[in-house]
């Protein structure tokens, strides 16, 4: 499903973020990305999301080398991916409802279906009744839950999540992990960056360890 081969990434100002990255994630697998701050976790996810392109190497997703994807195809590739940003990236000019509806609206889903899906999702994260509030006006943990709900709303075949439990207390983190595991059980391939050792070891899933831009061991 996902395969990194000899991937290098250098940011401007000569910051070598990734050096010779090789790893594979099988279809339907749940894999953690872990490693200290600045190791390159977010960079790997950004490459998968086609926000950045590698300087060398190939990144195969579903038999296509996404680093060679034409820019016209990128939006459609992205519609198959759910992404939880490390800093949430909610749109403060739109209500919580609108934030969640966005990915569905773009694909042209009927508004009844959108309404149903969004309300169900709000129910799940315990924010039912606050759909018309501004995401600016909710707590850090609540923002994170909305960001996760937005990534899952399309039931995407691939889910990328960048520290999705960083701002959550243990109970909320547990709920969220359950949502991810449920999605995974339904066939979604999950790649999640996380520092949280407890969550990683409890889950029993495989972890790719990064340090200084290289895969460890």
């Amino acid at each position: 499903m996902i395969k990194f081969s000899r991937v290098f990434k250098v940011y401007e100002k000569n910051i070598q973020a990734l050096t010779d990255i090789n790893f594979e994630v099988a279809k339907g697998e749940f894999v953690f990305l872990t490693g200290p701050s600045g190791a390159g976790k977010t960079t790997i996810l950004k490459l998968l999301y086609r926000e950045e392109t590698p300087d060398m190497g190939s990144i195969i997703v579903d038999d296509t080398d996404i680093s060679r994807l034409s820019s016209g195809k990128v939006p459609f590739y992205r519609r198959g991916i759910g992404f939880v940003f490390q800093d949430f990236k909610l749109i403060f000019e739109r209500s919580i409802y609108e934030n969640l509806a966005l990915p569905l609206e773009i694909t042209g889903a009927p508004s009844k279906f959108i309404r149903h899906t969004v309300m169900e999702s709000l129910e799940k994260i315990g924010l039912a009744g606050r759909e018309n509030h501004n995401p600016w006006h909710i707590s850090g943990g609540e923002k994170q839950k909305v960001a996760i709900a937005r990534a899952l709303i399309m039931s995407p075949p691939v889910l990328l999540a960048d520290e999705p439990t960083g701002n959550l207390d243990e109970a909320s983190a547990g709920e969220i992990m359950k949502m991810f595991k449920d999605a995974n059980a339904k066939g979604t391939t999950v790649l999640m960056a996380s520092h949280n050792k407890e969550i990683i070891s409890n889950s029993g899933f495989r972890a790719v360890r990064l340090r200084g831009g290289r895969v460890e061991e």
């Binding site: 939006p75 590739y77 992205r78 990236k89 749109i91 000019e93 739109r94």
Partner: protein, 292 residues
């Protein structure tokens, strides 16, 4: 559907920005419209004066009808000449005799002391052209003398011509200026929504998904701004005409450049259209930044 909702949402959400953008278009369109009217008035004034610029060609006593006819044709053929009208000495006498003072003077002569003449009018007021035409006429056989009596309004015409010139240039500069302001404001709007746009791109929106709402927004702002601009201009000009009438007794509505033009569908559509073009061009000009 989504497109329409996005535009409406943007209106509601970024009310402040929309206000700025529509306001600028209103200003630009009002200025352009007012400018057009001013231009029309100046042109009207210049035309009126131009009609007064004439040279009178006095014809030698005893010139035959054919000679006079030929002279008239020759004059008409000169570049810059609009019309050459033959005035017989009798016509001239009758014309002068309308003024009682002149009548008194003329009646003291035996017979008619006035010569036959040709009155020459010019197309455009261009000093050089007129002077060379006058010089050319002077050399003709049947010509006694040429009186180019417009010298006294020449100076004024110079001024009005210069005003026309400058007004034309100012008009062009103004269109460019308005375009720059509008496109800069839309750029700022887009810049302000860069996070929004980033997220849209990340959840799979295509270029069109992102651009179209801005383009429609530009058109909508343009339409509103253009129409409101016309309304404002209409109100301002009407108020002004009222004030002018009160203070100087001049009825501006009497000049065709005024109220009738303001109310003509051509003018209303023109201003609304100018607004739409401004809004559309502004939003197209600002699109470059979206994908940066």
């Amino acid at each position: 559907m989504r497109l329409f909702r996005e535009v409406v949402l943007n209106f509601k959400r970024s009310g402040f920005m929309s206000f700025v953008s529509i306001g600028t278009i209103i200003l630009a369109v009002t200025m352009l419209g007012g400018f057009y009217i001013m231009q029309t008035v100046v042109n009207f004034a210049a035309d009126q004066m131009q009609n007064r610029v004439e040279a009178v060609v006095f014809i030698k006593d005893g010139a035959s009808a054919e000679e006079i006819k030929l002279l008239g044709d020759e004059i008409t053929a000169l570049s810059g000449v609009k019309e050459a009208r033959y005035i017989s000495k009798d016509d001239a006498y009758q014309d002068f005799a309308k003024d009682p003072e002149m009548q008194k003077i003329l009646s003291s002569f035996e017979g008619n002391p006035l010569p036959d003449s040709i009155s020459v009018k010019f197309n455009d007021y261009k000093a050089q052209e007129i002077n060379s035409a006058v010089a050319a006429i002077k050399t003709k056989m049947a010509v006694e003398d040429v009186e180019y009596g417009a010298a006294e309004i020449e100076h004024l015409l110079n001024v009005i011509n210069a005003v026309k010139y400058i007004a034309g240039a100012a008009g062009i500069i103004f269109v460019i200026a308005a375009l720059l302001v509008v496109s800069n404001i839309i750029k700022l709007t887009i810049y302000n929504r860069r996070q929004d746009i980033y997220v849209l791109k990340m959840v799979g929106a295509t270029g069109a998904d992102i651009r179209l709402p801005f383009i429609f927004e530009g058109i909508a702002h343009g339409f509103l701004g253009g129409f409101l601009g016309w309304l404002i201009l209409y109100a301002v000009v009407s108020f002004l005409a009222f004030q002018v009438k009160k203070e100087t007794g001049i009825d501006l509505a009497a000049f065709y450049a005024f109220n009738p033009a303001l109310l003509s569908p051509k003018f209303i559509f023109g201003m609304t259209g100018a607004g739409i073009v401004l809004g559309l061009t502004g939003s197209l000009m600002s699109q470059g930044r979206i994908f940066k």
